[in-house]
Amino acid sequence: MVIDVAVIAFAQMPNVRAETVLNEVEMLMPVITDVRAKAGLTQADIGFTCSGSTDYLSGQAFSFVSTLDGVGPWPPIQESHVEMDGAWALYEAWVKLQLGDVDTALVYCYGKTAPGPIHEVLSRQLDPYHVAPLWPDAISLAALQARQMIDAGKATEADFAEVASRSRRSAMNNPNAQLAFDRSVADLLDETPIVDPLRKSDCPPITDGACAVVLASGDRARELRERPAWIRGIDHRIEPMALGLRDLTVSVSTRTAGEKAGMAAAPVDVAELHAPFAPQELILREALGLDDHRNVNPSGGPLAANPVMVAGLTRIGEVAQRIMDGTASRGVAHATSGPCLQQNLVTVLEGEG
């Protein structure tokens, strides 16, 4: 018994290095207004609202409380919040829609990554007794993973550079991208590594951003949108955090989530992967069986814009938008959380007909 649920609208704010004027509420409000307008709904029409964010970006306990006010939750609404990327907020909304009580949901997320030193901030996620006191930054951890890839003979620095070069080149077609330019692999390899073997080009930009999605189920989705992007499968899995417990060159949790989401049932013509660091795209492609990289991250992916807590839901939105536009018929979107791809969510989306 599964109720068909579809993405019927997606909106995002243009990704920027630092939004220094608007606060989180002000960043989000135009996005919420835009996505509701695209869906043809007002807040009163929406059955369930769910958001994703983290207090560690805003430096404030209960930061989501203020952004909820931007939605206009009056009269009182059915609402929830996850301290996770917006992709997981979408998962909770998808579960809620499975119950059949409501048939529409608003999902949103936001992240001001720029105000704090994000790579050090992310070290606050680590084991608080044994690892976090050493403040290992996110780039260093990703570099360990990249080094293992090389040592295992699975990839070269040129392979990383290919991902980095292609991502920013693809982003030239994405008006919301932060980094969009054409630089050759050879040019990137000329950079001096910042944390060996990672070069700056292999790392994500620091980005402030926000995005939102409207979901609808069954006939309500068909009523509201000519070509909804149907969620054919969605699943998420986690692995232990400790790096020593995992083979960092593979992503077991992504593979499992992909299998559960029905990834293998048919080929996909677009994939958006939440790989903040270039080597991670190679790991994810292997886990999801995406041999052909030509349709991977046409938006530029997280190497073109990486708003923390937002970049995962953006992947779902980018795939859904292509299906709604009719430029793709089946796609896969991936979101990640935690150090070195610890937790992963896979969504398979399809158009009808």
Partner: protein
């Protein structure tokens, strides 16, 4: 399409106390989760998914701590989900876990909520200066005291009602071995004479700061039917949120709380909550919230909640017992506090609440609220299969 039935088949909690220096955060959550699994007669391998809730991450100083707790909670290779909806989070978390079963996605879901307040400082975490926002330097009590004053003025409630609530809850806690405060010498006068913190809230009318965790195993009908112990059937779940800043809003008797209660009673087929509900665990961090919530949740007519307190209706042997466990006033591991309310409601209808059992409890309500009284989560559980 009907939802699948879901039942609570296991409940576990830690001993709540000011500092659980004997365990890490992982040890704390594992203690509660292991007890819930033992109660459910299950092992870690039986669990399909884990749903974790806690209040702001600054309360321990760990960003998204469920990531670090993944293996301690047996979640390797499974879905692990993290909910955060302010003080109502323990309740919202249980509801998300229940929905995974109701939707037919999983059969056995472990849900865990915790707070280890001793590792950081909640008062500090709530008091960081934010540009263009009113400061909250006095913590939650200073925020809620004016709401209570307003309630007293509207309802003409006499001053001693808050003291009666605190005395009842702290006395109930003496029957609950897991409760943080065990104040054997407590009396009306000792509460009355305690320091006035935020007028009219006295020190002894205020929740403690606790380390603690709560866990439940939620299971499908097929699994629950095979349980060797009584189970608690979930008869309704509801959440409501309203704005923080809105001229329409009444924070004393919030519409969100009232709507949430009406929704959950409708699902459970309750038309007269005062008569059809056998006992209630509600989120009362400051004593006066008991009469306020009695009115907000439709148990008492407007302006009369305090009379129930005065008449002893909400005593453990009263007509409508409230906070049999000792409530938030006796244990407050913030992130877990909502789930403890939900879990106590389940224990009551399972007949497993020990010395604080209400005889023949068949239908119980669990309630949690958060923020500045704008987030609400409730469920109704029953001994009888729906």
């Amino acid at each position: 399409m009907p939802k699948e039935l879901v039942a609570v088949v296991g409940v576990g909690q830690t001993k709540h106390q000011a500092t659980r220096g004997d365990v890490s955060m992982a040890g704390l959550v594992r203690e509660a989760a292991s007890r819930a699994l033992a109660d459910a007669e299950m092992t870690w391998a039986d669990i399909d998914a884990v749903v974790v809730g806690k209040a702001p991450d600054f309360f321990e100083g760990v960003m998204m701590p469920e990531l670090y707790l993944a293996d301690a909670l047996g979640a390797t290779g499974k879905p692990l989900f993290r909910v955060h909806t302010a003080g109502s989070v323990g309740g919202s978390t249980a509801i998300v876990a229940a929905q995974l079963v109701q939707a037919g996605i999983h059969e056995r879901v472990l849900t865990v909520a915790f707070e280890k307040q001793s590792e950081s400082d909640a008062m500090w975490a709530l008091s960081m200066p934010i540009p263009f926002q009113p400061p909250l330097h006095a913590g939650a009590g200073g925020y809620f005291a004016p709401h209570i004053r307003s309630y007293m003025a509207r309802s003409n409630a006499p001053d001693h009602i808050g003291i009666l609530v605190a005395l009842k809850d702290r006395t109930n806690a003496l029957k609950n071995p897991y409760a943080h405060l065990q104040e054997h010498e407590i009396s009306f006068d000792s509460i009355k004479d305690s320091m006035m913190l935020w007028d009219p809230i006295r020190y002894a009318e205020t929740c403690p700061s606790s380390d603690g965790a709560c866990a439940m195993v939620l299971a499908s009908e097929a699994v629950a039917d095979r349980s060797s112990k009584p189970v608690a059937w979930v008869k309704g779940t509801a959440v409501r949120s309203e704005p923080t800043m809105s001229a329409d809003r009444d924070p004393v008797l919030p519409r969100g709380g009232s709507d949430c209660a009406a929704d959950v009673y409708r699902q459970a087929g309750i038309t007269d909550p005062r008569r059809q509900v056998d006992c209630v665990e509600m989120y009362v961090p400051f004593s006066w919230f008991e009469p306020m919530w009695l009115e907000n949740l439709h148990f008492a007519p407007r302006g009369e909640g305090w009379k129930y307190v005065e008449d002893g209706v909400t005593q453990l042997d009263g007509d409508l017992p409230v906070n049999m466990s000792g409530g938030v006033l006796s244990s407050n591991p913030i992130g877990a506090s909502g789930m403890l309310r939900f879990a106590e409601a389940a224990l009551q209808v399972r007949g497993m609440a020990g010395d604080h059992q209400v005889p023949d409890a068949r239908t119980a309500v669990g309630h949690a609220y958060g923020g500045g009284s704008q987030f609400f989560a409730m469920w109704v559980v029953g001994a009888d299969k729906p």
